[in-house]
Structure formats: C-alpha cells, structure tokens
C-alpha cells in the first residue's frame, strides 16, 4: 500500500540515492507503526468478543463452589455432570426438542408458501398483483409488539393457544413478508425460455413449479432458509406470549425461564452448562457456513 502510494503519487525522490533510501525507511517505519495500531485495535475488540464466551465455557466445567471461589481460576476437574444435569433436570433437551418440532415445519412451509406466492407475483400479470406485493411489504413496517394482544386472543378463540401447532402458524405468517418480498425479486430473474420450453413440453402448472422453478430457485431458498432459521431459532417474544405451559417451551424461552429460576435454586454450574449447550451449536454451524450466514443475515438490510 505504502509502496504503491509512492509509485502512484508520481513524486520522484529528489535528493539522489541516499535520500530515497532514507525516505523508504521512514515510510517503512510509518507503515509498521500504522499496522501495529490496527492490530492493537482489532486484537482488543477480538478479546472483548471472545473472552465472555470462553469464560462461560470455562465456568460450565466448574463446580458451583469453584464458581463462587474465583471467576478466573480454571476448573480443577472437568465437571461433565453439569451438562447432564442441564440436559435432563433443567430440561434443555426437552426445550431443544420442542424448538425443532416448531421450526422445522415452520421453515419448510414458510419457504413453500413464499415461493408459491413469489412465483405468481413475479411471473403472472393480474389485477391486484402489485397490491398484494405491497401488502406483504407493508407488514415489515409493523413491530410485533403491536400485534401481541389481539394475537393472543385470536389463538385462544381458535383453541390453538399454548400449542406448538399455533406457534408454527404464527411463525410462518410473520416470516412471510420478507421471504415473499425476497423470493419475488429472486424469481423475476429466472430465464423465461426454460419455463416456456417446459410448458410447450406439456408441463402442468404444478409440475412446472416443483420440477423447474424450485430447483432453479435453490440459492434464493437457501438464503431464506438460513435467514428464517436464525430468526425463528432466536425468537423470544412470540413463544413467551403464546406458550404458557413450561413443558412446551422452546429453547430461548426455556433458557430465560431457567436463569430466572436458578437464581433461587443455586445450581450455577448447571446453568452455565445450559448456556453453553444453547450457544455452542449455533457457533459451530456459523463457523462451518460463515459466508452464507453473514450474507443470509445481512441480506435484510442491503438493498435488493
């Protein structure tokens, strides 16, 4: 960078060889100094980000006694039992199971319904097309807070309050606006020729959609699967309001419940283990698919 700067700036060293060498040396020192400062800042922030997580993982292997003795000492022995307790006695296993029961169908149907709607909105002209598209878009303006009370009573009157089925429907409905918006844009870019050729070959509309459109839209669907997975996995307020039976709690809700409970029960070691069980899998998945996930998560903020 520095060398290039000299080369491009067109300044010819004025005072012969000796001058050029001194000048090069000064540039080198400035460059090193600059680099040092950059590493200092970046390293500092890395520690701030990593340390809390490492600390929790370390504490999750201690006994509750050790946790109270000093926050700095490493565990004398790895207490794997903490994890077993968190999994069974603190119901983390149950919460994880509940979460999967909810988000697997929720994500599947979010993608299916959004792709179907997006396909029609992207490729068919009919009166009301734009209206429906903007109605979905408008849904992104409203905070979920605003819908909570009527939603609670609506589900109650439909007898699906406090059920995973009800939560699945709500998750799908609230994931639709962005997913429909994104997939409509995505499906507009599909090549026409391919679809027309399939129609000429006699493909019916459903065949066309499932055999041609869906495979072509794979990349868009994967982005949306990641985006919705993280959104629904981390969802807190909807289950908090819509699930009251603690046997049905999802992970985020269960962990919050546990931390408020444990304050009285004093099994700190078990709680630390619970946080680790919840935290580490998403971190591992992230490290494996970092690019897709960074793109998937920021896609909501970037212009289409």
């Amino acid at each position: 960078m520095v060398d290039k700067q000299i080369a491009l700036s067109g300044e010819k060293p004025a005072g012969g060889r000796g001058y050029a060498r001194t000048r090069r040396k000064i540039e080198d020192i400035v460059g090193m100094f600059w680099r040092g400062i950059i590493y200092l800042f970046l390293g500092f922030w890395s520690i701030i980000v990593i340390f809390p997580m490492v600390w929790v993982i370390g504490s999750s292997f201690k006994t509750t006694g050790e946790i109270f003795m000093s926050p700095w000492l490493p565990p004398a022995q790895l207490m794997w039992d903490n994890f077993a307790r968190a999994w069974t006695k603190a119901f983390i296993g149950q919460y994880l199971f509940n979460t999967l029961v909810v988000i697997i169908p929720a994500i599947f149907f979010t993608l299916l319904f959004s792709a179907m709607a997006g396909y029609v909105l992207a490729r068919f002209q009919f009166p009301g097309n734009r209206f429906i598209f903007y109605a979905f878009l408008g849904g992104m303006l409203f905070p979920v807070m605003l819908a909570l009370v009527p939603l609670f009573f609506l589900l109650d009157s439909m007898h699906i309050l406090d059920s995973h089925f009800g939560l699945i429907l709500v998750y799908i409905a609230y994931s639709l606006p962005f997913t429909v918006f994104f997939l409509t844009g995505f499906l507009k870019t599909l090549p026409n020729e391919l679809l027309e050729a399939a129609i000429i070959d006699g493909a019916g509309p459903f065949q066309l959609f499932f055999m041609i459109v869906i495979p072509l839209a794979k990349n868009g669907l994967v982005s949306m699967a990641i985006f919705n997975f993280l959104g629904q996995w981390n969802q807190y307020i909807l289950p908090l309001v819509l699930l009251t039976d603690s046997n049905k709690y999802v992970l985020s809700q269960g962990l919050a419940f546990l931390s408020q409970q444990q304050r009285y029960q004093n099994d700190w070691a078990g709680l630390f283990a619970a946080i680790v069980i919840v935290m580490v899998p998403t971190l591992v998945v992230y490290v494996l698919f970092q690019n897709q996930i960074q793109r998937g998560l920021t896609v909501g903020a970037l212009k289409g």
């Binding site: 290039k4 970046l42 000093s70 509309p205 996995w233």
Partner: protein
C-alpha cells in the same frame, strides 16, 4: 401462459395470503381498535372509551419513565454502534494479515441468540461470581468509581444508575459485528479504480476514507441508522431476560416494550397496553421517516 391463469394464481397465492390476513393483518387492525376500549380480557365485552387510554397514558409517570429510557438508548446506541463498526470495518480493509479471522470473530455475538447473550452477560455483571467486578478491582478502578459518586465498584445490573449502561453496552457488543459486515460488503463493492484515482491526486488514507469511502457508503449508513434506531426503540428481549421483574432495578430498566408487556400480560389492562403499543408503532414510524429525511442527500451512483 395457461388458458385460465387464475387456476394457477389462486391456489398458489391462497396459503400465504390467508395466513398473512389472519395472523398478521387482522391483529394489527384489531390493535388499533382495541386501544380505544377499556378491555380487561375477561369478557367479550369491550366498552368503547375513545381516546381515554391515550389520555391516561400521557398522565402515567411509568409510561414517561419507560419512554425516557428508550430515548436515552436512542441517543447513544446507534451512534456508538455505527461509529465503532465503521472504524473496525475501515481497519479490516487496510489489507492486513488475518482479516478473515477478525471478520469471522467479530460476527460471533450476532449468531448467538439475544437470550443466551443476555443470560451470559448477567453473569459477567454478577457482583460475586462475575468477572467484571473482579477485573475492575484488579485494575484498581475503585477510586475512579468513587470519584464518580459510587460507593465502590458499582453492582452493574443491581444499581439503578448503571443498569441501562450495562444493558446498552451488551446491545452494542452484540450489534457491532453485524453492522461491520454490512459496511464491509458495501466497501468492497466500491471499485478499486476510485482509490487509485484518489491516490494519484495525493490523497492519504484518511482523505481516501473521508472523500471516497464515506460518500459511497451513505446509502448503507442510512439503512444502518434506521435499523439501529428501531432497535433502540425495541430492547424487549434483552431487558426482559437481564432484569428480574419486580427487582429494585425493574423500573430503572423499563422500556416501552417491557412496560406494555407488563400492562397486558401481568396486569390484564389490554386496552391500555394496546394504546401504548400503537403509540410505540407511531413513534417508530415517525423515527424512520425522520431518519431517512435528515440523512437524505444526493446519493452518489457508481
């Protein structure tokens, strides 16, 4: 394409539209109406009271208490988060070794759920088992805090004076990586030739950043500001999980979202709670329009 295209359009649109109408549009519309009733939730009877709830809200000290906390967050969180993430993004683009590592690491907190983050930090802040108080006393910061008027090292989440700083700090800690990645993506989209031209004109690093990068990032900055501002007006999950309701720091940590949740699902004042929710929505809407307006300038196309 097909003889009767509505045979395709209707069944393809139906599931999405029906779910959306029933579970999203209807509750939003219903909220607007509910806020005009004094509904307690027990009976289907919903006495219409006009703007009574809104009048009561204006006189409710706890409403203003919660709102003032949102405004404090709004004042500090977006500004600090965005400057910090822009600064880190700038550092990472300085072609240094290991930038891949920093890029992955800084995004970590973003993939962990807010709930795990909240629980994790409430233990870091814990006065006896937490690592922060211990660190502060090891660094000999006690006199410093006494100078600020504390008795010693503050109890972070347990002190009304520090509870919002603690929560705000966690939110910033989590969000910085997200905005950094956003800015990095935008920075990398800027053609290299722009920088080469600037270098030819004798621009140093700061000038390049100030006169090439920043103007071209303006669109992304605007989006980021709106996002961060709306985030400061939410704060529900993090507050709910870090603060034990009914504790001494309950009220000092209140934000509109937690207050309206309490009014609805703990006090069963559903009409009143929806009035707060409608106000929250209108404030958020005004805030985004305002942010877009104030930050609008000629965008530079390339």
């Amino acid at each position: 394409m097909y003889k009767n295209k509505y045979r395709v359009i209707v069944p393809f649109l139906a599931p999405a539209v029906i779910l959306y109408l029933v579970f999203v549009i209807y509750p939003y519309a219903r909220s607007m109406y509910n806020s005009l009733t004094s509904w307690k939730g027990v009976s289907s009877h919903q006495p219409f009271v006009g703007l009574y709830n809104y009048g009561r809200m204006i006189q409710d000290e706890l409403f203003w208490n919660a709102l003032s906390h949102n405004l404090q967050y709004l004042l500090f969180i977006p500004l600090i988060t965005i400057s910090l993430s822009l600064f880190l993004a700038f550092m990472i683009t300085q072609r240094i070794r290991g930038n891949r590592f920093f890029r992955v690491t800084f995004f970590f907190p973003q993939v962990v759920s807010v709930i795990s983050i909240g629980v994790l930090w409430s233990y870091i802040f814990h006065p006896t088992i937490g690592v922060l108080t211990s660190l502060a006393s090891m660094l000999g910061l006690e006199p410093f805090f006494q100078l600020l008027g504390f008795e010693g090292i503050p109890v972070w989440m347990g002190d009304p004076r520090t509870v919002r700083i603690s929560i705000g700090g966690v939110v910033i800690w989590q969000a910085v990586g997200f905005y950094m990645v956003l800015f990095l993506a935008a920075m990398e989209a800027i053609p290299q030739t722009f920088y080469e031209a600037a270098i030819l004109d004798g621009a140093n690093r700061w000038h390049q950043f100030r006169h090439v990068t920043l103007p071209l990032l303006w669109d992304t900055m605007q989006t980021a500001l709106v996002f961060a501002a709306l985030g400061a007006f939410d704060m529900f999950a993090i507050t709910k999980v870090m603060v034990v309701s009914g504790s001494s720091t309950g009220r000092p940590a209140d934000v509109l979202a937690t207050y309206l949740y309490e009014q609805a699902f703990e006090a069963s004042r559903f009409g009143y709670a929806t009035a707060i929710a409608v106000s929250l929505f209108l404030m958020m809407l005004a805030l985004s329009v305002f942010t877009m307006r104030v930050t609008r300038r000629e965008t530079v196309e390339y």
